[in-house]
Amino acid sequence: MAKELIKGNTAVAEAALRAGLEAYFGYPITPQSELLEHLSARMPELGRPFVQAESELGAINMVYGAACTGKRVMTSSSSPGVSLMMEGLSYIAGTEVPMVLVDVVRGGPGLGNIAPAQGDYNQIVHGGGHGDYRMIVLAPASVQEAVDLTALAFDLADKYRAIACIMLDGSIGQMMEPAEIPPMQPLKTEIPDWAVRGTQGGEKRLLTSINLDPPAQEVMNHRLMTRWQEIEANEVRYKGYYLDDADYVVVGFGTAGRISLSAVRAAREKGIKIGLLRPITVAPFPNEILDELTQSVKAFLVVEMNSGQMLEDVRLVVRGRKPVEFFGRMGGVVPFPDEVLTEINRLVDGPLTTDGHPRNRWLARLAETIG
């Protein structure tokens, strides 16, 4: 199949449909709406349910209901809308039913703006909803990667009875790029045993997240956490660029990773031995490779389109063994490769330190830039 020039949101929608999406429930919000719009036409064409819900609360709970039937279901939204969905996500995690969430991240907090951002890292990677649960979080850096990760998200959700989130940012969602969308897959025919369908003469099934007996609830929590350990062991994905001989490594995901790659290439042209580690799964986080790199490199630069939310995960692995510096833009401002290159040069020029917090140094520098 040939590549076509396609917008990220539309591509993810079509990829989901071809991966066997059986029902979609959503609510319009910029910069995600093309995804919903595409499915509003395509799903009815294929005789599959599409509902524009009354709110994000409605949408996520429609997903919850449909997910309880064991079908492949999805919703999509953008940051403030995903915040509204947190209640439902916690219930879905607590009920152990699979679903796919697409978050096309925009500037915040609050209503913020509709520009690309990565400020949802904490609410998606480190919870947001109440209780102990984790979501699998995939962070593509191109339209093609978003397409590829969409099919993977459904497989992972099914495999682990978990929520798989594709965390785009507004630029991946809105950008048009050549991409190849895989051919149509048949719908899942096997319905898992746990899925409700009417007793049909058998034992009744109950899907709930309530358990008033704390010790029993703890057993359930333990099951979720051991499953997460399994996910951590099996599902880490990342892409490394120029890591083999790197003295310095930039760590960045999604669009920030992609922009950083341009800066890394420019630095390489100047003879700087620098590489890029781009986590594709930000949850589970690629701890192992980061730990290996900690032993071989001189210093790290973390680049994000937020105030350093992933930075904390990097610091947890590096544990002060090597200097970590940070560069970020917030509120929907997208960094230029030149800015990242400047930060790379600053890192290489030194002096390097493991003292203090990199965020504080960055904030002081940023104050000079943005006034």
């Binding site: 409605g58 007793t199 009744k204």
Partner: protein, 259 residues
């Protein structure tokens, strides 16, 4: 006296669709009656094995324990959305929610209005007892003017705390609503009428005619601070005036249904 010769007639038996366990409901509470009616109707329709129930949050949070029916448990107020999701992917199943007034008419008003306006082909059992039962009898969206609750200790002051919501009247204005009626569970005659309405509501769904809801005026002896008998009188004397029984929406197609 030898009683074995007296001819016996079975006047009530627990429907098989109702689990034989003792419920957690307070003595005198009408949840048990409502559960029984739902079980009887689904059984009479032969729909028990083809049904998926959606429990809500409130005293009936554990409703799923009492039915021999596949069940899911929704977040507070979101049962109509969850039912929408299920019904859309399994249109041949009978899908119903069982919700109280705090769940449906307060936190879940958006979801129920959305479902009704879309004409979702689901059925809602709406239990209105004018209070939040599970959390200890606080003021509900349906609490009557002047009614004393644990969060309106001097009686609901409508100037300060607003007016009770007449849910059936409200939902009846929506085009997607096919069958919206209010019944009561305070005496045998009204219970029989409620059962007939529940049957009609499920028939509406079975025939694909749209959104159906049966509001049932119910009691809460514990939180109202009354005996069961007093609470039934209170429904009759106080609730019926603010919440008149009747058929608020019967679409032309539904009017053809004979049960």
């Amino acid at each position: 006296m030898v009683v074995t010769d007296v001819p016996t007639k079975l006047v009530y038996d627990r429907p098989a669709a109702l689990d034989p366990r003792v419920t957690h409901y307070c003595p005198g509470c009408t949840h048990g009656v409502a559960h029984r009616l739902v079980a009887e109707v689904l059984q009479e329709m032969g729909e028990v094995e083809n049904t998926i129930g959606v429990a809500s949050v409130g005293c009936s949070v554990f409703a799923y324990n009492y039915f021999d029916i596949d069940f899911v448990e929704a977040a507070h107020g979101r049962a109509p959305a969850m039912a929408t999701g299920i019904k859309r992917v399994l249109p041949e199943r009978t899908v119903f929610t069982y919700q109280g007034d705090g769940d449906l008419a307060s936190i879940g008003m958006g979801e129920v209005v959305g479902a009704a306006s879309r004409g979702e082909n689901i059925t809602i059992m709406f239990i209105n007892n004018a209070t939040y039962g599970m959390t200890g009898g606080q003021m509900a969206p349906t609490t009557l003017p002047g009614q004393v609750t644990s969060s309106s200790p001097t009686g609901r002051d409508v100037d300060r705390q607003g007016h009770p919501i007449q849910t059936s009247e409200l939902l009846a204005t929506l085009e997607g609503s096919a069958y919206i009626v209010r019944r009561s569970l305070h005496n045998a005659r009204e219970i029989r009428r409620a059962k007939k309405a529940i049957r009609t509501a499920f028939e509406v769904q079975k025939q694909g005619l749209g959104f159906s809801l049966v509001e049932m005026l119910s009691n809460c002896p514990t939180n109202w601070g009354m005996t069961a008998v007093e609470s039934r009188d209170w429904i009759e004397e106080r609730m019926l005036t603010y919440y008149p029984l009747g058929d608020y929406k019967v679409s032309p197609a539904v009017a053809e249904i004979k049960v």
